[in-house]
């Protein structure tokens, strides 16, 4: 964690990525080629922009817009910025780059002292079938805490301001959800459906608002032509390796697969402080055989 000394006016950054909204899909190879027709931002990124604006409003802070993208992102970027962002920064990224490279380039900007970001809000996925790991990497590099794939975000103001938190809901496996409290500084990512970016006022859309400096500040990213090699493999969801069921007969294997007739310990609810809870989780994982002897 890297808590700042003062949080007088929190800075909330929406961190978005310019993508080709209509890429050409090679249905045989599964590869995507840019169409160069109609780039823009994913629904999740626009939802992140709105979330950042609402949080900044609730905390009487400022919202800045940080975008990873090439120069032709500027038009779309200014349209988003017109919704109420006080600064717009584009990290110049000419083409398709590996996730880790994008994250590093963004961190270089987000970590700059003139931005002094307290909260980074990302979309949970972009349309270009990337790994979705940028928010986690940002949190890692910035040493902020992280909460990803959020379904609702509620900013909670506190006195002093550095105690501001976010109460959020995120999905868990098995259609369950959990409610979490996130302290700042933090990186969060939100799903596309949770917010719709507000319409910019007419004067802001015309680049005339007194509040908006309708300029895109460009920060060094990759030099042109230096993009990572294009991804040539087809996109597939990441696979999880599962051991096949044991058993002599099909019936036995089905029993093992479904877990029917086997002894299971019923779920139990425990109340414990965080360190005690962590210990109980580790004990249970070890008991169920998920942890090796030296873990």
């Amino acid at each position: 964690m890297n808590p700042k000394d003062t949080f007088l006016s929190p800075v909330v950054a929406a961190c978005i990525k310019w993508v080709d909204l209509r890429p050409e899909l090679d249905s045989v190879q599964g590869t995507l080629a840019p169409s160069r027709r109609g780039g823009g931002f994913s629904a999740a990124d626009l939802s992140a922009a709105e979330t950042a604006l609402s949080i900044a409003e609730a905390w009487s802070g400022t919202a800045v817009l940080v975008c990873a993208g090439p120069a032709n992102a500027d038009r779309s970027l200014l349209e988003v910025a017109a919704s109420g962002f006080s600064r717009t920064v584009r990290v110049d990224i000419p083409g398709q780059l590996e996730t880790a490279t994008v994250a590093e380039l963004l961190v270089r900007t987000l970590g700059q002292t003139d931005l002094d970001v307290d909260l980074v809000v990302c979309g949970d996925m972009s349309y270009d079938r990337s790994s979705g790991a940028v928010p986690a990497m940002l949190a890692h590099h910035l040493d902020f805490c992280q909460a990803l794939g959020l379904l609702s975000v509620e900013p909670v103001s506190a006195e002093p301001a550095d105690d501001h938190t976010i109460v959020a809901i995120r999905r868990l496996d098995g259609a369950r959800r959990e409610r979490i409290r996130i302290p700042i500084p933090a990186v969060i990512s939100v799903e596309g459906g949770i917010a719709t970016l507000r319409r910019a006022a007419l004067d802001a859309s015309m680049g005339e608002s007194a509040h908006t400096d309708a300029e895109v500040e460009v920060r060094g990213g990759h030099s042109h032509g230096e993009s990572d090699p294009p991804r040539t493999t087809p996109w597939r969801p990441r696979a999880r390796t599962l051991a096949g069921p044991g058993g002599e007969s099909a019936f036995d294997r089905i029993l093992e697969l479904t877990g029917s007739l086997s002894d299971t310990s019923p779920p139990r609810t425990v109340k414990a402080d965080p360190s005690e809870a962590a210990r109980m989780i580790m004990d249970s994982l070890a008991e169920w055989g998920y942890l090796g002897s030296d873990d």
Partner: protein, 456 residues
Amino acid sequence: MIPGESPRPEGSPRPDPLQRADAAGSEVDAIVVGAGPAGSAAALELARNGHSVVLLERGPFPGSKNMYGGVIYGRILDTLVPKWWEEAPIQRWVTRRQTMMLSGDQALTIDYRSDRWGDPPYNGATAYRPDFDQWLADKAAEAGARVVCSTTATGLIHEGEQVVGVTTDRPGGELRAKVVIACDGANSFLAREAGLYENLDPANFTVGVKETIALPSEVIDARFGVRGDHGVDIEILGCTGGVPGGGFVYTNRDTVSVGLVLSLPELAKGDKRPEQLLHQMKQHAGIAPLVEGGEVREYSAHMIPEGGYEAMPELIGNGLLVAGDAASMCLAAGVWLEGVNFAIGSGAAAGRATHRAIQRGDTSAEGLEGYRTRLESSFVLSDHRKLREIPHLVMGDLAQTRLPGMACGVAEQFFHVDNPAPKPGLRRIIRSEMKTNGVRFRDLIRESVKAIRGFG
């Protein structure tokens, strides 16, 4: 889209900084609604003459909501963008024009080609509207117009009799101006709100439906008999399953546009669907070999104001002008389906008339009267006036159903060799085909006279 301060075209006057400051208070010289060809031409003229002008577009970028068959006749651009052909996003230059009549499994084609149309200054060109409209709007932006996208004009603001601005769907969305130019396309909401249309008759509208079908460019070259950046424009009669209208096939670089234009009231009867009719046309032996094996990339539909001269609204109000499709200026006269050039011509005329009216300080309907004079003296109204009878003629029963059948029948009999029987005389063939297709001599003469008069 917010244009940057890009360099202005050489020789054009610099916008007055005071007027620009004015714009910051949401009061501009002119608001142009709709960044189609009409709107961008109007905004370009105004910006070049140093006026503060806002070009409002409801789509996310100019052209995003627009579709058409595919051919632009660019001569009107010569004055607006000299040597436009060196930079406009053109797909192919039309060097081959065909008029095809279909009936049953028959097809009769008149085919004209000229490689001269493939050299500057060219004649017609195919282009995608999202590319072309964006390009033209960029020209207006470069000249100093502000292009504001994703913004719909929702109404007119009046002060007494005078239109003084528009409301939009954005927060704080009132914008005031000395003149509003409505270029909002077919069925113009603004012209109707201003009461400029006396009565809008659905019979004056057609619906255009189109598929864009991808094929490799070498395949297009081979099937259509062209090379390089040369392309083909085919207008088709008798392909609409009895619904008044027509069809078209146009070549782009690596796609083919195939579509139909269909009478709105007839479609509204509900027993025929446009996509079925388009499917039928694509199955016809005259069309199928051109498009088979292609992948449908896009399907789109749009209304066309085909009524021509008689269906035009009042073009001028106090502080308001109407141009392009908004003023029903699309020319749909059988072998011609020209709307983009008429939109550019009328938009540019509206821009120039507004410039003069603002200079003189009179933006009332009287002060804007120069717009009509400009249109009258250009191809826009003179072509429309001359061809005013043609839309009815083309949509009439004779041209739609009987003539294609008769022409194909005459061709079949004329070219059919039936030895040992001797060749029949042409007069006999025509008479028998007229009878088979229910064409009366009297009607044929009457419509032919109308056509000769109509086409001038």
